[in-house]
Amino acid sequence: MDFGLSDEQLMMQDAVRSLLENECPVADVREGLDADTHHDPALWSMLAEMGLTGLIVPEEYGGSGFELLDAALLAEVAGEGALPGPLFGHQLATLAVLRGGDEAQRARWLPALASGESIGTIAWAEPGDVWNPDSWACTLVDGAVSGTKAHVPHASIADVIVVGIAGGGLAVVEATASGFQIEPFDGVDRTRRIDTVVFDGSPAEMLGASDVAVPVVRDAALVLLAADAFGCAHTLVRETVDYLNEREQFETKLTQFQGIKHELANLITGLEPTRALWWYAAHAIDHVPDDASRVAAITKAHIADRSTEIARQCVDLHGAMGYTWESTVHVWYKRIMFDRAFLGGPSEQRTRAAALSDW
C-alpha cells in the first residue's frame, strides 16, 4: 500500500501553480470577471502544452495517460488559483468520450480534446434542477438532439458538447452543427461561466457505452468539484493569514489575537484531513469502482460544507474589505458556492450516499 503522491504529481502541481502565478494572477482573474467569457486562449494553449488538457487521455490518443487522481490534483490547483476557463467541463467531456465512446468515437474526438485544439464541455443538468440522469428529458431521435440543458460550463466556446439524453445516455454534438442556441446564465461564479443550451434537432451521435460512462462522469464531477473547493478554501485561509498579518488593531498585529488564531485553527482542522478523502475518492473511481459513487457523494458533501464555512468566515475576517469587489476573496467564495451547488448540495449528496449504503 502506498497512499501518497508521486514526485511527478507534486511537480505537476508546482508547475501549474507557477504558471498561474505568472500568467494568471488573481488580480487578473478579478479583472476578467466582467469580460464576455472568462477564457484566455493563450493560457489554454499553455495548459495544453503542459499536457493538462489531455491529462487523462491515453497516450495512444495523444494524451498524458494519467488517472483521475491526477485530474483532481489539477482541479485542486485550479481552485487555489481560481483558474478561469473551460477546464472543468473539458475534463468531464473528455472522460465521457474516453469511457463511453467506442473505438471509432475515441479516435475521432480524443486527439483534439487531448491537444486542447477542441474544447469540450458537458450538458448534464436540465431546467428545474434536474441533475439525475433518470430524469433527463432531452431526446435523441434519428440522430438529432432536442431539448434544453442547463448549467453547461462554458458552452459558448465549446467545440464538443456531451449531452445527457433521456434514458441515461450520452450523445456528442459538435459546435459546428446547427440547431442549437446558447443563452448565457448569470452565474455567481464568473470564473466558470455556465450557459443554457437549447437543442432543436441538432445532429448528434450517441456514445456506445454511455451506461458505463454516466456514473463515472458523475462521480468524477463530484470529486473534481470537491478538489476545486479544497484548493479554494486552502487559498482563502492563506490569503486571510497574509492579510491579517499585515493589519494592526489597537497597535497589535491581528494574527496575534487568539480569537483569530483559534478561528483559523478550527477551520483548517476541519479542512486538512479532507485532503486524503478526496485523494481516495479520486483513486476509487479508477481502482475501487464498487466504492466510488458512495465515496464521491460523501466527499463532495463533506468538502462543500468545510469549504463553505471557511469561505464565510474568511470573508468576515477581512472586515469591511472582505465585502468589496476590489478584494479578491469573493472570487474564491463564489467559486466555492459553485462547487457546492453544482450537481446538488450536501443534503442531496448525503441522501444519495445513504441510499448507496449497505445499512
Partner: protein
C-alpha cells in the same frame, strides 16, 4: 407579564385600516407621513415636540400597524441612518436648536444622512481615526478620508467623528460634526461590493466646511456622543429574519426533494424548527428589551441580552440564508444576485437567496466585525478582563 391581544388592540387594528383606506394611496408621501405621525402610527418612540408621535412602548401595537401598512403598501418611517442614528443622537446629545432644525425634516425625509465614521486605517478601532477638523472663525474646516459610507452619493448631510485636538491620544480630542454634503470640498467615490452593487462609498474631504452650530456635544467630546450612536447602529443592523423565514417556508412547500415537497423531509422539518427557535428567541428578546427600557431597566440581565443581540442576529442570519440557499437548490445556488435585492419579500425570486446569502457579510461593516462583538460580549457582558495588547502604549478604555 401581559401579552394579551386586548380589546384596544382589536380597536387599533380597525382604526389603522380605516386610516389607510382614507389616506392611501396618495400623491403626497410627505403629507401622508405627517398625518400618520400625528395619529401615532409612525416614529412611535420619538417625542412629539420634535415631530415624533411619542407613544408608550407596545410591540404588539407596532406589529399591528406595521402589518397593516405593509399590506396596504403604504410608506412607513424612513429607513436609514437619519431616524435610526442621528435623531436618537440629537435627542441625547444635541442642543435645542439642532433638534428643531434637523429632527422633523429627517423624520419626514426632507434631509437624508450618511455616516462619516470608518476610515481606511480605522475600522473597528475607531479611536485611531485621522480625519481632522480645525476651527476657522465660526466654521470647522474638515480634511480627511471616510470609507464604508452607505448612500454618501445621495445624502444631504454627513454625521461623523473628526479629530480636533491632534495632540491628544486615541479617543480623546475627537469631535462629532454634522457636515453638508453639497459643497466643493467633498468628493464621493462609490465602492463596488462583492454582490456587484455599490452599497458603500468613500468620501474625500478637502477643506470642507461646516458651521460651529453643527458641532454636537462638547468640542473633543465626540467619543461619548458616538458611543450612544453605536448602540443605535447595532439595533439597525439586525437582520429582518422573520420575513425571510416565511419565504423559506414557502420555498420548502414548493421545492421537491426526493420526489416530495422538501417540507415533508424529516430533517428539513427539524432544521426549520431549529431556526424558528432562534427567531422566537430574538423576537421575545426584543419584547423583553422594549419592556425593560419602558420600565427604567429593572431587568438584571438586560445588559448581557443587549450586547449579544448583534452577534446573535448575524449568526442566525448566516444559518438561515445557508438553509434557504441550499433548499432553493442548485439552480439558485449557481445563480448570481443579478437584479435581485435583499428585499425580504422577494427572496424566492431568481437571485433572491444568493442576494440574501451574500448580504449577511455586510454586517462586518459599521456595526463592528464579529470578533469585536465577541470582545464586547466577553468584557461588558461577562466581566472578563481586557485583552492583552502590545504594551507599546497604554490604551484608554473604549
Amino acid at each position: 407579564m401581559d401579552l394579551e391581544f386586548g380589546e384596544h388592540h382589536a380597536r387599533l387594528r380597525d382604526e389603522v385600516e380605516a386610516f389607510l383606506t382614507a389616506n392611501w394611496p396618495s400623491d403626497d408621501v410627505r403629507a401622508f407621513r405627517r398625518k400618520a405621525i400625528d395619529v401615532g402610527y409612525l416614529y412611535r418612540h420619538f417625542p412629539a415636540v420634535y415631530g415624533g408621535s411619542e407613544q408608550p412602548a407596545d410591540p404588539m401595537a407596532d406589529d399591528i400597524i406595521e402589518s397593516a401598512f405593509t399590506a396596504a403598501r403604504a410608506p412607513q418611517g424612513i429607513i436609514g441612518q437619519g431616524p435610526d442614528m442621528v435623531v436618537p443622537t440629537l435627542l441625547m446629545s444635541g442642543n435645542d436648536a439642532q433638534r428643531e432644525r434637523f429632527i422633523e425634516p429627517t423624520l419626514l425625509g426632507d434631509i437624508s444622512w450618511c455616516q462619516g465614521y470608518s476610515e481606511p486605517t480605522a475600522g473597528s478601532d475607531l479611536a485611531s481615526l485621522r480625519s481632522k477638523a480645525e476651527l476657522d472663525g465660526d466654521e470647522w474646516v474638515v480634511n480627511g478620508h471616510k470609507i464604508w459610507t452607505s448612500d454618501a452619493d445621495t445624502s444631504d448631510w454627513m454625521f461623523g467623528l473628526f479629530r480636533t485636538e491632534p495632540d491628544q491620544p486615541r479617543h480623546h480630542g475627537i469631535t462629532f460634526l454634522l457636515i453638508p454634503m453639497d459643497q466643493p470640498g467633498i468628493e464621493v467615490t462609490p465602492i463596488q461590493s462583492m454582490t456587484g452593487e455599490t452599497e458603500f462609498c468613500e468620501v474625500f474631504l478637502t477643506d470642507a466646511r461646516t458651521s460651529i452650530d453643527c458641532q454636537v456635544g462638547e468640542r473633543g467630546g465626540g467619543w461619548g456622543v458616538s458611543r450612544n450612536l453605536l448602540v443605535h447602529e447595532r439595533n439597525l443592523m439586525g437582520f429582518r429574519t422573520q420575513q425571510l423565514f416565511e419565504s423559506m417556508l414557502e420555498l420548502a412547500r414548493t421545492r421537491q426533494m426526493n420526489g416530495a415537497p422538501a417540507i415533508e423531509d424529516a430533517g428539513v422539518r427539524r432544521s426549520l424548527i431549529e431556526i424558528e427557535g432562534e427567531l422566537l428567541a430574538a423576537k421575545y428578546s426584543r419584547y423583553r428589551s422594549l419592556t425593560n427600557s419602558a420600565r427604567g431597566n429593572p431587568d438584571p440581565n438586560a445588559a448581557l441580552a443587549g450586547v449579544v443581540k448583534k452577534l446573535h442576529a448575524s449568526t442566525m442570519a448566516k444559518k438561515l440564508t445557508q438553509l434557504g440557499l441550499d433548499l432553493a437548490g442548485a439552480d439558485e445556488g449557481l445563480r448570481a444576485q443579478g437584479d435581485a435585492s435583499v428585499d425580504l419579500g422577494r427572496a424566492n425570486e431568481p437571485g433572491g437567496w444568493t442576494a440574501n446569502y451574500l448580504f449577511t457579510h455586510s454586517s462586518a461593516i459599521g456595526g463592528g466585525a464579529p470578533n469585536i462583538q465577541r470582545n464586547i460580549i466577553g468584557e461588558r457582558g461577562l466581566g472578563l478582563p481586557r485583552d492583552l495588547r502590545t504594551p507599546k502604549e497604554s490604551t484608554p478604555s473604549t
